[in-house]
Amino acid sequence: MSASPPRKPWVLTRETFDQLLVRLHPDRDRAGEVYELLRLKLVEFFKARACLAPEDRADEVFNRLGRRIAEGEVIENLPGYCYGVARRVWLESLKGPDARRVPFEEPAAAWPAPEEALEERARLECLEQCLRRLAPDEVRLLFDYCADGERPRKEARREQAERMRISMTNLRLRVHRTKLRLEACVTECREQGPKKLKYI
């Protein structure tokens, strides 16, 4: 029996992605939100299972989903189907590098104190710069979302969603999206190194 040639990885095309969006919701804007929420669920799933690169795994699920759709498969319960695919991707990952994964980083509590103070300062400086790049309503969204007042947090967030006239799910998505952008900005800022005030 001759060995079959290695399969070329299937990648989601624009056309298939559009088909996927249509399956998620007839309204394109709403479909975008459903897609984003589903992707977030996938990322959480892979994080909870300690997978490396959870974002990439989530994209792999969408690749496979797109492939099924392109092949004409009828999928009734798309989120449930996604869960099934995610489990398969996770099981496959157990045969890969994830299975031999040993936590590399020490817990945060073990960070050396002198550096932590400096890191904290640098982080704050980067955060300040990055917050200034956000739109004002995004800054307010974040502040209000994490306001730790006397009322229970859930109640405060429900009020925030009502004030913004959006659903709680939509509020969480907006916050998540904004935090992701902020995190990316802070990471980029930190990688560029400390601001050098004087060279010798």
């Binding site: 929420l37 909870a48 989120p79 996604c82 020490e106 229970p152 967030r157």
Partner: protein, 288 residues
């Protein structure tokens, strides 16, 4: 922590990796089809992070959180972000950190009396720095509370930012020095650092060669004191700089006397001993 419902408790156990496998599978299957439940999971995660950064977790939960939840790099980034964004001004932990600057901004927006004072301060500040930001601040102020007079609020938030910046960064003067390995101890090219009064940080940029490691470890030794090891920095990462791959190390100058120093850099792999990369030398002298 706020009082927990049964669902909250289940979600937190899930996040901490403490749910039995069958329960974990069932929960995941549920949240994939139930957006509200998934929303509760996100809320539970936010709450857990918030309780962690504010020191409200029990020792056992805190340890579990650090050993399980924080093993994901993006979760650590999220914790860092929330630590800065969501920490209340009056810290619950004894080692309270400075109030974030944006809390000052919000406080200014919400306090009419301070707004008036801030307006005066903003006028006094003037300058390009204020001018550059005025557009963004005007937009920010559109979102501020309706009870504040628009003009006063605009000036107030501007001054608030100036005040807050000082709180966030504090007074510091930083020196920077780029070092390459291979400059031997006592060589003529050995780098000298003259530390002026008031400088409190020496930012070293170490050329760490072409080979990449997931992490780096640097130690600082005082060669003028029989090579005594003063500081060890773990969890360092490299970035790509102008001269290639570089590692940044920030040294607190307050504790470093005039002396000759050696930094030893090693690469760290997930399952291996530190791999020596190089030694870097510099002399530090205090300005008289």
């Amino acid at each position: 922590m706020e009082s927990l419902t049964e669902t909250d408790s289940r979600l937190i156990k899930y996040l901490l990796g403490q749910l039995p496998e069958a329960d974990r599978d069932r929960l995941e299957e549920q949240y994939f089809v139930d957006d509200d439940l998934f929303g509760e999971l996100l809320d539970a995660e936010e709450q857990l992070i918030n309780d962690y950064v504010n020191g409200r977790l029990s020792a056992a939960v805190r340890e579990r959180f650090e050993r399980h939840f924080l093993t994901q790099p993006d979760r650590r980034r999220r914790v860092d972000l929330d630590r800065a964004l969501c920490r209340p001004g009056a810290g619950a932990r004894p080692e309270a950190r400075p109030e974030p600057w944006w809390q000052s901004v919000l406080a200014f927006w919400r306090t009419p009396r301070l707004v008036a004072a801030a307006a005066l301060l903003a006028i006094a500040l003037g300058g390009v720095w204020a001018g550059v930001r005025i557009f963004r601040l005007e937009r920010l102020l559109d979102e501020s509370r309706a009870q504040q007079a628009e003009a006063a609020a605009r000036a107030g938030s501007e001054a608030g930012l100036a005040n807050a910046r000082a709180i966030a960064t504090g007074p510091q003067a930083q020196l920077a020095l780029a070092l390459a390995p291979g400059l031997t101890r006592g060589a003529e090219e050995s780098r000298k650092v003259i530390v002026p009064r008031g400088a409190n940080i020496l930012a070293l940029t170490l050329d760490c060669g072409a080979e990449a490691y997931p992490g780096y470890e640097a130690s600082l030794s005082n060669l003028s004191d029989q090579g005594a090891e003063l500081l060890v920095y773990r969890r360092l990462t490299a970035r790509v700089g102008r001269a290639g791959r570089e590692v940044d190390v920030s040294l607190p100058l307050a504790n470093l006397p005039s002396a000759d120093y050696q930094v030893t850099l090693a690469g760290l792999g997930p399952n291996s001993d530190p791999a020596p990369i190089g030694k870097y030398y510099f002399s530090l002298r205090r300005e008289q």
